[in-house]
Subunit: 340 residues, 2 copies
DNA sequence: TCTGGCACTCGACTGTAGCGAGTGCCAGTC
DNA sequence: GACTGGCACTCGCTACAGTCGAGTGCCAGA
C-alpha cells in the first residue's frame, strides 16, 4: 500500500501551503502554486487516497484538505529536510548570547532568543543537577544552630538550603565539616553522591556526627531525591498568533499545562543524545497538549547532555525551520557552557 | 454635584451585579435583586445621572449599564469595605506556606497560592537586593584566575557571579580577600555598599589590589547598579476565564506585558509601606494593560518592606475579596520571612 | 493512467423579520 | 419636589431563507 512519489509530493505541497496560509487547501490552488505537472482532477484522486490512509482530512465536505497529525509525521520524517539557518539568524544567536554574566542570565537569554526566532513558546531546562558535578560546598553559619549550605555545581548551578542543626556548634567544627564534605564530594556527579554522603556520616568523629547527620540528610533530601529541576519559559504571547484557529479556540489547556513544571520537564527533559525530538499533536502524552507540537533537544558542553530545551506551538508549524533553529540554539548554548 | 446616598447604593449594586454576572445590568433586575425600596423608573433616573457623571456607561442603546473605570474607582474608595477572609482561606494560606525549604520555594508557593485564591494572575517580587543586608560573601576559587563570588543576603537571596581575575592568585590571597570583604560588608544594606566597596580597594595591600579591584567592580556592577530584581509569575491560565469578554477579546497585549520583567516590577515594585495599591484600567501607565486592574502591596518581615506582590485581572474583578486576599498573603509571607 | 466535464454538497455570507430587554420621557400621585 | 406607572422606541440577538462559490466525487473518453 505504498504511496508513490507524486502522492508524497502532493502531501508535501499540502503541508507547506497549509502551514503558510492556515487555510484548507484545494486541488486547484495546489496545481497553481506547485509544479506538479498534472491536472487538478488527478490531484483529487491522490488526495482521496491520502485521505483514506489518514494523512489528510476535510474539515467539512466541500472544503479543502488539511494535514492530520499523521500527515505531519510523514512530512517530518520523510518529506522535509532541515533548513539551514540564514546568516542573519546565526548572527542574532551570537549577538544574543554573548555577554551573559551567569547561568541565570544564559538561560534567560536563551529562552527569549528561542521564543523570538521561532515565534513560539520556548522552554529551557536549567542544567540538571543529576548530571552536574559538585564543584564546591560552602557552609555558612547563620547562627550557632543554623547553617546555610551552598552547593556550586560545575554546570554553574548554585543551590542553597538552610540546615537546622540539632544543637549549637562551634566555628571550628563548621570548618571541619566543610573540609570533610568537600574532600569527599567535590568532583562527583550528584547522582552518585548518596552512598558517599552516607559514608561521611559513618566516618565522622562522634563530636561531629549529629551535625553531619542532619547536614547529610538535608543534602540527600533536597538535592538528590527530589532532584530540584528548574525551568524557564518565554513567548507565551506567541500562542495568540494565528487568531484562535490554532489550539481549537481555547488557550486554556495550553496555559494550564505550561504552568506545571512537571509537565514541562516531561516535554523537554527526556533528552536523548544529540537527537532532535518532534512530538506532533496526539503523539503527546499530556492531554492538554493534544492540539500542540513540541520540538526539543538536549544541550550541554561538548557532546554531553546536561539539560533540554525546545519550543511548543500549533501542529501547524514550520517544522523544518523550527527544528533547525532549536538545534542551532542548543549547539550555541552548549559551546557557551563549554567555555566555563 | 454630589451624589446622594441612593445613587451611591445604585452604583454599588451595579458594580456588584456586574462583577457577579458579567452582564450589563438593567434597572428592573437591579430592584429585584437589591432592597433599594424604589421603583425601576426611579433607578433609571439615578442611572442617567450616574452615566452623565461618568461612573457607568451603556455598551449600546437598549442594553443595561456597565461600570466605567471611574465607577470602579469610586466603588473601591468609598463603597466597599474589605471582606474578611473565610477561615477556609486562612487555613489554605497556612497549609500552603508551611514547609517551604528556601526562598525560591517560599516565593513559588506564594505566587501559586495567590493565583489560586484570587483566580487571577499573580506576581511576586523576590526580596529586593537593594533592601537586603549582606549576611556573608563567599569566594570560591574555580581556577587560579577565576573566582566565584557568592553573596548571601539576610532576606534569603543568594546571588553568584563569576569573576575573571587579572592574573593568577594564590589560595592564601583568596582567604585574605574573603576576610576583608566580609569584615567590611557584612551587615550593611546593599544600597549602602558602593562607598565601602570603593574603600576596600583603596585600603588593600599592593599585592591584593588588582584582584580586589576586579572583584569590587564586579560586585558594584552586577549587584548594585543593575540591581538584579527577580520576579515570579503564576496563574496566566486564569486570564482565559470569562471567555474573551474581559480584555476586549485579545490576550495578546496582556501576555506580552507579563513577559517584561520591567513592566511587572513597575506594577508591583513601587510598594509604599503597608498600603494596598489598586490600579484600575486606564489608571495603569502601561498601555498594554489598560484593560486590566492590578492590586498590589508590599511585604516583608515585621513592618519593613523588602518586596512587592499582587495580582492582575480584568477591571471587572471582585475588588474587596482580592484586596483582602492580597493583604493576607502579604502578611503571612512577611511573618514567614521574619522567622528566619 | 490521466484528464475534462459535470452534478452535487455545504459552509459563508446577506437580508429580513420577530422578539425582548432595556431605555427615556411624560403625566399623574403623594 | 420626589417618586411611580405607563408607553413608545431602540437595537442587539436569533432564526430562517436564499444565494454564491470553492471544492469535491465520479465518469466517460483520450
Amino acid at each position: 500500500m505504498g504511496l508513490d512519489d507524486r502522492k508524497l509530493a502532493v502531501l508535501r505541497a499540502i503541508v507547506e501551503d497549509y502551514v503558510a496560509t492556515q487555510e484548507p487547501v484545494g486541488s486547484k490552488a495546489l496545481v497553481e502554486r506547485h509544479q506538479l505537472g498534472v491536472s487538478p482532477a488527478t490531484v483529487r484522486n491522490d488526495m482521496a487516497v491520502l485521505e483514506e490512509e489518514g494523512y489528510i482530512r476535510q474539515p467539512h465536505t466541500s472544503a479543502g484538505r488539511v494535514p492530520t497529525d499523521r500527515g505531519y509525521r510523514l512530512f517530518v520524517d520523510r518529506l522535509s529536510r532541515v533548513k539551514p539557518l540564514s546568516p542573519a539568524e546565526r548572527r542574532a544567536i551570537e549577538r544574543f548570547l554573548v555577554g551573559a554574566v551567569d547561568l541565570d542570565d544564559v538561560v534567560h537569554r536563551t529562552v527569549r532568543l528561542l521564543a523570538q526566532l521561532t515565534r513560539q513558546v520556548a522552554v529551557v531546562q536549567y542544567p540538571s543537577l543529576a548530571r552536574s558535578k559538585v564543584r564546591h560546598l560552602e557552609l555558612v553559619p547563620i547562627s550557632t544552630t543554623r547553617l546555610m549550605v551552598v552547593m556550586i555545581a560545575d554546570t554553574g548551578r548554585v543551590e542553597q538550603r538552610l540546615v537546622e542543626l540539632p544543637g549549637p556548634i562551634p566555628a571550628d567544627d563548621v570548618t571541619d565539616l566543610r573540609r570533610l564534605v568537600n574532600e569527599k564530594l567535590v568532583g562527583t556527579l550528584l547522582a552518585d553522591t548518596p552512598p558517599l554522603v552516607q559514608a561521611l556520616v559513618d566516618e565522622s568523629s562522634p563530636q561531629l556526627r549529629p551535625a553531619m547527620a542532619t547536614l547529610s540528610s538535608v543534602l540527600l533530601e533536597t538535592l538528590v531525591e527530589r532532584h530540584e529541576e528548574r525551568i524557564a519559559l518565554a513567548g507565551t504571547a506567541n500562542l495568540t498568533r494565528g487568531g484562535l484557529l490554532d489550539f481549537q479556540g481555547s488557550l486554556r489547556p495550553i496555559l494550564e499545562a505550561l504552568e506545571e513544571e512537571v509537565v514541562l520537564l516531561k516535554l523537554i527533559g527526556e533528552a536523548e543524545p544529540s537527537t532532535t525530538r518532534v512530538l506532533i499533536g496526539d503523539e503527546n502524552e499530556i492531554d492538554n497538549l493534544r492540539a500542540a507540537s513540541v520540538v526539543s533537544t538536549g544541550y550541554g558542553p561538548g557532546s554531553t547532555i546536561v539539560g533540554g530545551l525546545g519550543v511548543l506551538g500549533p501542529t501547524r508549524m514550520d517544522y523544518p525551520g523550527t527544528i533547525a533553529t532549536v538545534r542551532a540554539v542548543a549547539r550555541y548554548v552548549g559551546d557557551l557552557l563549554a567555555q566555563n
